[in-house]
């Protein structure tokens, strides 16, 4: 009995889950290595794990009806194109005339191009109605033309939007062709009886960029501003007032209404473009789905286009891919390995068919990399991105013809095929009963008919970041244990032992504040007139370093240091554990905001976070292992430095040609003009974590 008691006292029963936790923490080195490597392997496996797309929403029924677009519509469209390219009067009037001839309601929308503005938290706050900047001359006024067909069977509460961007100053042949396709569909839709949603055809004035035109129209549509005195005033300076002229137009006596016209809520939007150059192979259709901050339209929208393109109109559907990866040798080898593995698996059990051919693998990987890169940048790939800010699903369809549009022989045929595709898509969306909600919003495309859903692509990321909390916990446990041993003598010290980390937390907080300051600096640098990117970048770097030094002095001053003690033995460990936890929190947050950024960022920052260890300790150890670790640390520290990381990522995904330091500035500038969350990630998570890791490397322990 007594013995039993003593045994139970010696070995308190620990629950298995707690024991597992202790096991993980005590073997954190191996666990983290294993997790990290399996994370990379899982990432490379993603093209194999991609599923085939399927149309999830039953109501869509793509391709169930025969196309009604006839050659008659096409010949009308041809006439329209000729008028547009050869007429003397301003092109937007031509467009308006043709629209009102189809009994559509026509409105002009005047807008000023928005200047680049810095909304650091734009992705986070609700979309605010933009601030109209003052003192813009009348000449920079853009005019969008929008035609609305009211649905005979609808109640005017829903709408489908067609967008064709064009430059009224110089209508290119491709733009004219895209307008022609849209016109042919529009002329058909004005006569059909099945339409249940209104159709809006927006001819966007792209002389100041198509995105700003579309977003200005959308802002007016969704969130009108009621202090428009400036625009009304500016009408006086514009001699050709389109609206008043439209009132005298014989075509549009009942459709002449000066104000802004609306249809219902938008179910979906299609941006139609035609490539200026032919690709000499075949007629193909490129889909651009990425909106700001890696948001994607509902997968069903892409599915319809893909289905109709492949099965009905015979376009070759393409998604952007990285051509640099296609030829890379290591990827081909990897594809070969996976193929042979798949064959072996199939020979063992014919039921297992996860292997795909090497070429398929490489294609999938290149597309996936491109999808991840453009999502990770957080910059929309076309004017469809403006729609996503209002929760409207939209994609850009860029049709690239076989021959160049200028010397096209089969123009009628081309318009017919393009028009039939658009008609089919619109008919499908017309069938929708609710908003798009059935299919995925969070996915990566690995070809136009394959996708990787959120449940799959989160696995590599989770494996990559899983070591962070484990290592943080083990370091924290070690640090608190060592301080417990070293300072048992004095009772006062003991009193803080479980709050020891507060000191490190303060440092980490200050460095993150520094990161915030650094990411705010370009806002001020942008005010400097006539500066080249290179000088801007240099000034930015110097100011950042300067602010870091100032913060360092403030941090070292006695106000902050409660007890100026010499650096302790375990100090770097506790600092590292806090750093790692903040990196973990930051990466997890970013994975919710924009997954692709978090994935790429994790690949860069996680190794240095895990490996960081004072160089001095390694130098003292004087073993091959320590030396290897020190070199690894230095190399990783160099790689994770944001500009270096940028050039590496760019080199991996794009080409290396003509890189200079100013490129980084340009990139940063593009990020913050597009309100990308990636910018904040780099400034507030990546840079401070890197700085802290470097601090740990050179820690005087």
């Amino acid at each position: 009995m007594v013995e039993n008691d003593s045994v139970t006292e010696k070995k308190p029963r620990i629950r298995p889950i707690v024991r597992l936790g202790f096991f993980l923490i005590s073997h954190s080195n191996y666990v983290s290595l294993l997790c990290f490597l399996s994370g990379i392997v899982a990432l490379l496996l993603l093209p194999i794990l991609a599923n085939n797309t399927y149309i999830s929403e039953n109501a869509l029924m793509p391709g169930s009806a025969n196309s009604m677009l006839s050659t008659q519509h096409v010949s009308h469209a041809n006439k329209f194109i000729n008028d547009l390219t050869h007429s003397d009067i301003e092109s937007h009037k031509t467009v308006a005339q043709y629209m009102s001839a189809l009994d559509a309601e026509v409105t002009y929308h005047k807008f000023y191009p928005q200047l680049n503005q810095f909304h650091p938290l734009h992705f986070f706050t609700s979309s605010d109605s933009g601030i109209i900047s003052k003192n813009i001359s009348c000449s920079s006024l853009g005019i969008n033309v929008a035609g609305i067909i009211r649905a005979p069977r609808g109640d005017g509460k829903e709408a489908i939007v067609l967008v064709t961007p064009y430059n009224p100053k110089k209508v290119g042949p491709g733009e004219a062709l895209s307008l022609g396709i849209a016109y042919s569909v529009f002329s058909l839709l004005s006569r059909v009886t099945w339409l249940a949603k209104d159709v809006i055809w927006l001819v966007a004035d792209s002389q100041y960029g198509e995105y700003s035109a579309v977003s200005a129209w959308l802002r007016e549509y969704q969130a009108p501003v009621f202090h428009e005195a400036e625009i009304v005033n500016s009408e006086t300076c514009n001699d050709s007032i389109a609206i008043s002229e439209l009132g005298q137009n014989p075509y549009s006596d009942r459709n002449s209404y000066g104000g802004f016209r609306r249809a219902g809520t938008m179910a979906a939007a299609l941006v139609i473009k035609v490539d200026e150059q032919g690709n000499h192979h075949e007629d193909s259709l490129n889909i651009y789905p990425e909106a700001s901050n890696g948001q994607m339209p509902n997968l069903d929208l892409i599915n319809i286009v893909n289905y109709l393109g492949v099965h009905k109109t015979g376009f070759r559907i393409k998604v952007k891919k990285m051509f640099s990866l296609l030829g890379s040798r290591w990827l081909n080898t990897l594809g070969g390995i996976f193929e042979s593995l798949g064959q072996i698996a199939r020979s063992l059990n014919p039921q297992w068919k996860f292997g795909i051919s090497a070429t398929e693998y490489v294609e999938g990987a290149a597309t996936l990399a491109s999808s991840m890169y453009s999502q990770g940048l957080g910059v929309p790939t076309g004017s469809h991105g403006a729609f996503r800010d209002y929760q409207v699903d939209a994609i850009t369809l860029k049709i690239s013809p076989k021959d160049s549009p200028t010397k096209m022989i089969r123009r009628n045929d081309f318009i017919l095929r393009g028009g039939r595709l658009i008609e089919g898509v619109i008919r499908s969306i017309n069938n929708l009963l609710e908003k798009f909600h059935q299919s995925f919003f969070l996915y990566l495309l690995s070809s136009s008919s394959k996708y990787v859903s959120v449940g799959v692509y989160m696995i590599p990321f989770a494996l990559l970041v899983a070591p962070l909390p484990i290592v943080a916990a083990s370091l924290h446990a070690d640090a608190s244990k060592s301080t417990l041993q070293s300072t048992y003598s004095s009772e006062v010290e003991v009193s803080h032992k479980s709050w020891k980390w507060l000191n490190s937390a303060r440092k980490v907080l200050v460095i993150h504040l520094w990161g915030a300051v650094v990411s705010l600096l370009p806002y001020f640098l942008y005010q400097i007139p006539n500066s080249t990117p290179t000088t801007n970048f240099t000034v930015w770097g110097i100011l950042s370093a300067f602010s870091l030094i100032i913060l360092y002095f403030i941090l070292g001053s006695p106000i902050f240091e409660a007890a100026p003690s010499q650096p302790e033995k375990g100090e770097w460990a506790s600092l590292k554990s806090v750093t790692i936890s903040t990196a973990f929190i930051g990466l997890s947050l970013m994975s919710v905001i924009n997954f692709a950024t978090a994935e790429i960022g994790a690949l860069l920052i996680v190794p240095i976070c895990l490996m960081a260890r004072p160089l001095k300790l390694d130098a003292q150890a004087r073993s091959w292992r320590a030396l290897l670790r020190a070199t690894c640390n230095l190399a990783l520290g160099f790689i994770a430095f944001p500009p270096v990381a940028y050039f590496l990522v760019k080199g991996a995904f794009e080409d290396f040609n003509g890189t200079n330091v100013g490129d980084y500035w340009n990139w940063v500038e593009s990020l913050w003009t597009w309100n990308s969350a990636t910018y904040l990630y780099v400034g507030i998570v990546h840079l401070p974590c890197w700085a802290l890791c470097i601090h740990i490397l050179f820690h005087p322990c």
């Binding site: 948001q295 479980s498 980390w501």
Partner: protein, 478 residues
């Protein structure tokens, strides 16, 4: 000799006081800066900050209804106290040219925050005095002397003022700042043994948000036994030891000890408690009369109770917040609703008695735990409630210096408070997420609070109950 040693101590104290005040002023300046910040922060419409009970916009609406001679509770917009309407209502209407909209209101909240902090500081001083006197009586004087750290009251006050949750709640114009003030008034009044003040605080806090009603138990204990002390067992042990040691000592010494013991054990004294109850009765009737006058024209006090306490208890508003109730009651079938209402509110009541038994020698700490508990299980929680208990944590900094999981909790709070707005954004603005995304952070937050409570009062039974109730909720949902 004595003067020599005193001067550096004094200097140090002076320096500390200066430091303290500069930090207080700094926090006020920070609040003013954020108030003047352009509107795109839009904190007052965040679900984490303003609940249906504490939102200033609803208050302004209620005031407007009252001004147009309708009942302020018409249309289920306003659910607060009529007294707040008279206090803050006129300020919501008044605008100063060129200044932010709700400037005067925000100034009121800033003042409330500062007063709260000062009261916490004063309460901390009282607690510390009681603590060192009880240490002396056990004979561990040296422990109290070498505690060179910042006094716990000052520390708690600064913690309260600089807590991001407090700042966000203050700038987000949530009336929880005033509710917190009333709770702290209660605590201070009870620590300083000022029955009228404590009664006033308690009545007002209960009137404003109902849940502080459970604070009556710790307040009565405070008045009965005095502030926190080590368990009574300890005193007895101590005296026994001394008796053993000085067995050969003379008899008078032993008698002294016995007297001392009697004083320290101080049996429950009824007089201040009765005084407190009397004052509470007085104040509550006064408040009721005032409210009655205010809502006289519009169906009287009954409607007021229905749309304040009734609204809290029946959980009519299911708009998302950081609690777990909204999701649950959006899912539950109507015929189970009243049953689950009883279960959920019973949860708090279930916890009250065991905690009171366990912590009856430390009423202040008991009050603190009750505050944590109610802010966890209340029907419309907001960050303002967490701000209060996180600030009060500083009062017990000395006792909680060995707190487990402190780092984990800290990271958890940081993570959840950043994740919650992002999830909300994903659900409401981007439309790519859904309600489960936001509710997941609410669950995470609830788990964190359970862990927080666990590390405070390592009472496994209690945690088991809490976790069980949480998981039963989850199971039910699935």
């Amino acid at each position: 000799m004595s003067t020599k040693t005193e001067t550096p101590v004094k200097k140090k104290n002076q320096k500390k006081i200066q430091c303290f005040w500069s930090w207080v002023i700094g926090s006020v300046i920070l609040r003013l800066i954020i108030i003047y910040f352009p509107k795109n922060l839009n904190l007052s419409s965040r679900p984490e900050v303003s609940t249906p009970l504490t939102s200033i916009r609803r208050l302004a609406e209620g005031y407007w209804l009252k001004q147009s001679s309708m009942s302020p509770y018409a249309g289920s917009m306003y659910h607060g106290s009529p007294l707040l309407l008279t206090l803050l209502g006129p300020l919501t209407v008044k605008r100063i040219e060129g200044q932010p909209d709700h400037l005067l209101c925000s100034l009121v909240f800033v003042i409330a925050d500062v007063v709260t902090a000062m009261l916490i500081c004063a309460a901390g001083k009282k607690l510390q005095a009681a603590y060192s006197s009880s240490l002396q009586s056990i004979g561990l004087h040296h422990l109290s002397e070498d505690s060179d750290i910042l006094p716990s009251g000052d520390f708690a006050a600064l913690l309260y003022l600089w807590n991001p949750f407090t700042i966000v709640a203050c700038v987000g114009l949530s009336t929880s700042a005033i509710e917190n003030l009333m709770v702290v008034v209660t605590l201070y009044g009870a620590c300083a043994r000022l029955a009228p003040l404590a009664a006033f605080g308690w009545v007002m806090a209960t009137h404003l948000s109902l849940y502080p009603a459970i604070l009556i138990i710790p307040v009565i204990l405070l008045f009965g036994y005095g502030p926190d002390a080590p368990p009574r067992k300890l005193f007895r042990q101590r005296t026994n030891l001394e008796v053993d040691d000085s067995a050969s000592g003379d008899r008078s010494c032993l008698e002294d000890e016995l007297v001392n013991e009697k004083r320290m054990l101080n049996v429950f004294s009824w007089r201040p408690v009765v005084l407190f109850l009397f004052w509470a009765l007085l104040w509550s009737s006064y408040v009721l009369v005032l409210c009655g006058i205010y809502v006289q024209q519009h169906s009287g006090l009954q409607e007021m109770f229905k749309s304040t306490y009734g609204f809290i208890l029946t959980i009519q508003d299911l708009s998302p917040n950081i609690g777990v109730f909204w999701y649950f009651f959006a899912e539950v079938f109507d015929f189970f609703r009243s049953f689950f209402l009883i279960v959920f509110h019973g949860n708090i009541l279930l916890m009250i008695l065991p905690l009171a038994l366990r912590l009856n020698h430390r009423p202040c700490f008991l009050a603190f735990v009750y505050i944590v508990l109610s802010s966890m299980l209340k029907s419309y929680p907001s960050v303002g409630d967490s701000a209060l208990y996180l600030g009060l944590l500083g009062l017990f900094a000395y006792e909680l210096k060995d707190m487990q999981f402190s780092f984990f909790l800290f990271s958890g709070y940081v993570g959840v408070s950043l994740l919650s707005p992002v999830m909300h954004n994903l659900w409401i603005w981007r439309g790519t997420g859904n309600a489960n995304f936001y509710f997941a952070t609410a669950i995470g937050y609830a788990c964190l609070q359970v862990l927080y409570l666990f590390s405070l009062i390592s009472g496994p039974l209690l945690v088991l109950i809490l976790l069980l109730s949480l998981f039963s909720l989850l199971l039910f949902l699935n």
